[in-house]
Symmetry: C2
Subunit: 179 residues, 2 copies
């Protein structure tokens, strides 16, 4: 959080010049850590573990994903994904079932308890989102999200190339139908 | 990473409409996780632990900070900051000294070994930053950084209010002289 601080009084030209060499990750990681602590804290208050909400969030959007697919979507390595899923299992929120089409693959589904708290969970996420976007216009929001999607794609491409040089890179990290 | 995916062919108006209800944190946390894994992996290759580079980064910018100041700047709670500092100590990268003006406070300084690898460390950060910003114009970079600074301030204010209702909120999370 030390690299760059832009005060309101600075002129655009100065901001552009300063941003040229500004590091992105201290800001990204700072926001990520506070978000994780906030949502995690709320999860704890609901009686669950604080660290697995990001997987739950993915599963609310789509069930029946394999552990590898979940890993890729959230950007967490396979062993940590497996540990997090074990905790969600412990809280009776998910179940893992062997894929009948490929016995080596386990697919992840939500349990009734998770479906019961879905609205409460979404409310927490919406509340935090609203707090983060305080003072933003619709257009500013759109520009920020568009830039973050681009950065996320760049990060995934760079990370995959670094981990597996020459590997074919996935396009949209959400693997949605639009891309 | 499921909430929103903006393809290049989408019109601005659609993006604005879609972003209105888009969640920010899945993108932020995804980029944060891959950044942490990338920089952490490079740190491991240098012979250090993978998880403490964010504190090292702060200390390269300013030495002599207390543990509480470090916690606040990086957005990590006190006990995790203390654990991360203990690891940096184990790798001979930092030392903690009692503040002569307040014996209850320990201040953190870099050791010779950390100063020796400073350039290598900065090179890793610059490389990752360049990869993330691939395809961005100077103006787009500036707009993104400015938005993230605003989000970081919002996150800090919301988090502090939630943790300590009624608490006075710090302005700039970097506490720099500009704000």
């Amino acid at each position: 959080m030390r690299i760059l601080c832009i005060s309101k009084s600075e002129k655009e030209i100065d901001v552009v010049a300063a941003a040229e060499h500004a590091a992105l990750t201290p800001w990204i990681c700072f926001i990520s850590r506070l978000s994780t602590r906030f949502v995690g804290g709320e999860m704890s208050r609901m009686g669950f573990g604080p660290g697995q909400f990001f997987l739950l969030s993915e599963l609310y959007a789509e069930e029946g994903l394999s552990q590898d697919e979940l890993s890729q979507r959230v950007g967490v390595d396979k062993s940590n994904t497996s540990r997090a899923l074990a905790k969600l299992e412990k809280f009776d929120l998910i179940k893992r079932k062997i894929d009948p089409q490929n016995h080596k693959v386990k697919k992840v589904y939500l349990r009734a308890k998770a479906l019961k708290v879905r609205n409460e969970f979404r409310k927490i996420q919406r509340q935090w989102n609203t707090k983060l976007f305080k003072g933003f216009t619709k257009k500013e929001k759109a520009a920020l999200i568009a830039s973050l999607v681009k950065i996320a794609n760049n990060a995934e491409a760079a990370f995959n190339q670094n981990e597996y040089p020459g590997a074919k890179v996935q396009g949209c990290p959400a693997n949605c139908q639009k891309c």
